[in-house]
């Protein structure tokens, strides 16, 4: 079992690198392509949120992504940053109708992540935020 990791500066222009990295790891384990796309999307969503909301797109800040692939068991993505911590308990899933009525553009990202991943965890330890996403392998 080999952990994979990548570190990028907090700029949304780096999201493509994150997506390529995740899809490369999953491909190397022959993870099915259509399923892989969903995991890439979920990781992209969390990274985009952290870059924009927790780190204000500050290029002197970084986020780090670690992937642990346990064959026939699970895939764990850990996204680590030092920005403003996100409190999952404060998050209320918006209703689609509400989004349309308020013309809000945000709010859909975490909805996607919740539907794609089997487990989502946010925690903060010593000024470091860790978001852990787990996908079980059937």
């Amino acid at each position: 079992m080999r952990p994979y990791n990548i570190k990028i500066t907090c700029s949304t222009s780096r999201l493509l690198e994150i997506r390529k990295f995740v899809s490369g790891v999953l491909e190397s384990h022959n993870y099915p392509e259509i399923e892989s796309h969903k995991l890439v999307l979920a990781v992209d969503e969390v990274c985009a949120n952290l870059i924009i909301h927790s780190n204000d797109c500050n290029p002197s800040q970084h986020i780090e992504l670690k992937v642990e692939y346990k064959e026939k068991e699970s895939i764990t993505f850990e996204i680590i940053d030092k920005g403003i911590s996100f409190d999952m308990n404060q998050y209320q899933e918006p209703k689609l109708k509400e989004l349309v009525n308020t013309k809000r553009k945000g709010g859909l990202g975490l909805m996607l992540v919740k539907r794609i991943m089997d487990k989502i965890e946010f925690k903060t330890e010593k000024n470091t935020n860790i978001c852990r996403l787990v996908k079980l392998i059937d």
């Binding site: 259509i34 969503e45 870059i51 989004l99 349309v100 013309k103 553009k105 709010g107 859909l108 794609i116």
Partner: protein, 114 residues
Amino acid sequence: MIEIKNTIEENVQHIRVIGDVDASSSIHLDNAMREAISKSTDIIVDLSELSYISSAGLGVFMSYLQELETNQQKFILCGLNEKVLEVFQILGLDQLLVIKENLAEARQQLDAPV
């Protein structure tokens, strides 16, 4: 990583989106949508060359639905590949938006009586 082509054909705005729409590029889609809406015609968004969309792109479409309805501008998406369509389906947005398989079907839908 995104290219957008706006054209007008038979009084219908066509927006062709090529590449990836993510948090960094969705602003271009937003600008194209805003421009198309300002021209008060019906709008077809051709996504047949779109390889990736994240919530930032979905949010752009959602944020204009009310305005399109108020303006009575018909709005149709078409040509979504399997992966892109699935992103819409995960959230049930395929129930809120008119999605057609290809450009010909999208045009037919516009010509159909309401």
